[in-house]
């Protein structure tokens, strides 16, 4: 390979200082890899984005989170009930999902999907993951509510 311009070394050092990965990132990835159940057969949904509906600091108000995989799409509306409790209203299309299973720590919650709609009224704030069963099995990545 041709020799790299030394400026790439400076660019690298600059980005490492000025836009470093979040401090928790590596540990979160190690945990995600360790928690992965290799026996479960599902397609992974990708996060398209999250947006806050109300102006405020992170964690306040209502957050909308969107995931997709091929034709399937999932929209979640996460409301803050109080500091440690969340309510999740969800819509899922394009998968024929009839059940949503949500894991939060050691806890598992299930909800029926009716006409593409499901809800989890009371959830602890924290990291969760949602699995959908139907025509195809789908799973979100681990994410924070």
């Amino acid at each position: 390979m041709t020799e790299r311009d030394p400026i790439f070394t400076q660019l690298r050092a600059m980005y490492e200082v000025l836009d470093p990965p979040p401090a928790h990132l590596t540990d979160a990835m190690i945990a995600a890899v360790a928690a992965e159940n290799l026996d479960a057969d599902y397609e992974l949904l990708s996060l398209l984005g999250r947006s806050t509906e109300l102006v405020g600091t992170r964690g306040s108000g209502v957050i909308t989170i969107e995931f997709s995989h091929d034709e399937a799409s999932v929209l979640l509306r996460v409301a803050e009930v109080d500091e440690t409790t969340r309510r999740v209203d969800g819509w899922v299309t394009g998968t024929g999902a009839d059940q949503a299973r949500l894991t939060s720590g050691d806890q598992t919650y299930t909800a029926d999907v009716i006409d593409g709609r499901f809800e989890f009224e009371t959830l602890p704030a924290g990291l969760i993951r949602i699995y959908f069963s139907g025509d195809t099995e789908l799973a979100t990545p681990t994410f924070e509510i």
Binding site: Y15, T26, G49
Partner: protein, 202 residues
């Protein structure tokens, strides 16, 4: 002094193959049944993936998800990596493609607030002790910010990928593969021109 042409060699060569080799070995051990070896690989490559994905101007949550997607895809499809020593390239390509997919789908919205991309101040003494001074870093950041988006992305990806795969980069950037080399050169020239324009101030 113009830091770009400085001949101080205050850092080890970045094209050091060490991390690539360590990653390949850790991956090979993990595939052979050493369950803990994957942690070494995750530690080695997660920061690199961050910078590659962040080059697509995605916000933090989305970058984190793209990186998680990349790792979960690796553990689920470990057999699709033909050569364990190529695992770093495999990870970078997978992360870049996913970042590109998400960025394309989000294009209808504004990708990210400028605020989110504003440089954070160095937070640790270790960062302050960087051989390249904070001042130089901020000047370089401002200079890069004056380049077009494509140049910014290309330079950041190449800065963190010692063995850039032009074939895949060209697909992601929607450019013929033959034009990546010249584009890279033009982006570098522009960057240096911006810097030397500023270089007049001591």
């Amino acid at each position: 002094m113009n830091f770009v042409t400085s001949e101080k060699s205050h850092e080890p060569a970045e094209s050091d193959d060490g991390p690539w080799i360590r990653s390949g070995e850790a991956f090979a051990r993990w595939r052979d049944g050493d369950r803990g070896a994957i942690d070494e690989l995750v530690r080695e490559m997660t920061p690199v993936l961050w910078h590659v994905v962040r080059a697509y101007r995605l916000d933090e949550d989305v970058c984190e998800d793209v990186i998680q997607f990349t790792w979960l895809t690796l553990v689920r499809k470990a057999d699709s990596v033909d050569n364990p020593r190529a695992v770093s390239s495999w990870l970078i390509i997978t992360a870049r493609r996913q970042a590109w997919r998400v960025a394309s789908r989000n294009r209808r919205e504004d990708a990210v607030d400028d605020e989110l991309l504003a440089p954070a101040l160095p937070t640790s003494p270790a960062a302050e002790a960087e051989a390249v001074s904070a001042d130089d870093n901020h000047r370089l950041w401002s200079a890069v910010a004056q380049l077009n988006e494509r140049c910014q992305r290309l330079l950041r990806v190449i800065a963190f990928d010692d063995r850039p795969d032009y074939h895949h980069i060209s697909e992601d950037l929607g450019m013929p593969v033959g034009s990546i080399g010249p584009t890279r050169r033009r982006c570098l020239e522009k960057l240096k021109a911006v810097i030397s324009g500023e270089g007049a101030t001591p």
